[in-house]
C-alpha cells in the first residue's frame, strides 16, 4: 500500500502531469495526438509523462481499433482521500473551499 502510494505522489508532484490529468478530467478518453495538440508539447515528452501516470494507475488506457485512448482513473485518489479525510470533515472542508472560491471571485 505504502509503495503504491509513493508512486502516486511522485506522479502528482510534476506540474505537467497534473496538467495532463486536468485535460483528461475535462474530456476523458483522449488519444496521444489530441493530448499533444492541446498542450502544445512534443510527443516524446507527453509519452514519458503518460507512462509515469499509467504506472501510478492514475491513467488507464484502452485500445479502440488502432487508437489508444487515455482515461483518468480516480480510484487511487479516492483511496488517498479515504485514508486521511473522515466522513465528518467533508461538509466543513466543502464549506471552506466554497468560502475560498467566493472570496477570491470578489477580489
Amino acid at each position: 500500500m505504502s509503495a503504491a502510494l509513493d508512486v502516486v505522489f511522485k506522479a502528482l508532484a510534476d506540474p505537467t502531469r497534473r496538467l495532463l490529468l486536468d485535460r483528461l478530467h475535462e474530456r476523458n478518453g483522449q488519444s496521444l495526438g489530441e493530448l499533444c495538440e492541446r498542450l502544445g508539447m512534443r510527443r516524446q515528452s507527453v509519452t514519458q509523462h503518460l507512462a509515469i501516470l499509467e504506472a501510478a494507475n492514475l491513467v488507464t488506457t484502452i485500445w479502440r481499433g488502432r487508437e489508444k485512448l487515455h482515461y483518468l482513473n480516480p480510484v487511487p485518489l479516492h483511496q488517498i482521500q479515504e485514508r486521511w479525510i473522515d466522513k465528518f470533515e467533508r461538509p466543513r472542508l466543502r464549506a471552506l473551499s466554497a468560502l475560498k472560491r467566493k472570496a477570491e471571485e470578489e477580489t
Partner: protein, 149 residues
C-alpha cells in the same frame, strides 16, 4: 463500439474467483454497495440492483450480455422508471490475475447525458474502493462512501 465514458482500474489482493463472487453475490454486494446484485448471471437473463432496505426495489435493471466466470461480466444498465425506449448504458467488469493481485477494470459506456456521467463518476470510485477494502480486510468501510455529503 462507442467510446467508453469511464475506465476505472484497481488492483485487489484477492483471487479472481473472490472478485467475481463479490460482484455477483447478492449478500456480498449488499455489504459494500448498499444494493444487492440479483441474477442467475446467465447470458440473456435479467439482473437487478436492489435496495437493501427490505423493499427489494430495483434502482437499476438490465440484461446479462456476457458472463464468463471469473474473468468477464458485461451487463446493461437502465432506470426501471424510464421509458422502454430510453437509452441503456453498458458496464463491463474485466478481472485479470496478476500474481497475487487481481486487476479489476470497470468500463462504463453509452451514458446518455452529463447528469448520468456525473452520477457514474461519483459512484464508481467509491464502490470500487469499498470492494477493495472488503476483499482485503474482510470488512467494508464503516460508512457508505457514496453517502458522503
Amino acid at each position: 463500439m462507442a467510446k467508453p465514458t469511464f475506465v476505472y482500474v484497481t488492483y485487489i489482493k484477492a483471487t479472481p474467483e473472490r472478485v467475481w463472487r463479490a460482484l455477483t453475490d447478492a449478500d456480498t454486494t449488499a455489504a459494500y454497495w448498499g444494493h444487492s446484485n440479483v441474477s442467475d448471471w446467465q447470458v440473456g437473463s435479467p439482473w437487478e440492483h436492489q435496495r437493501t432496505d427490505g423493499s427489494g426495489t430495483a434502482d437499476v435493471t438490465g440484461t446479462v450480455v456476457e458472463s464468463t466466470p471469473p474473468s468477464r461480466l458485461v451487463t446493461t444498465w437502465a432506470d426501471p422508471e424510464a421509458a422502454p425506449d430510453a437509452a441503456v448504458s453498458q458496464v463491463t467488469f474485466q478481472i485479470e490475475a496478476h500474481g497475487e493481485l487481481v486487476r479489476l477494470t470497470v468500463t462504463h459506456e453509452d451514458l446518455a447525458d452529463e447528469a448520468e456521467r456525473d452520477q457514474a463518476a461519483a459512484g464508481w470510485s467509491a464502490v470500487i474502493s469499498n470492494l477493495k477494502t472488503l476483499l482485503e480486510t474482510g470488512r467494508a468501510l464503516p460508512q457508505a462512501p457514496w453517502e458522503m455529503p
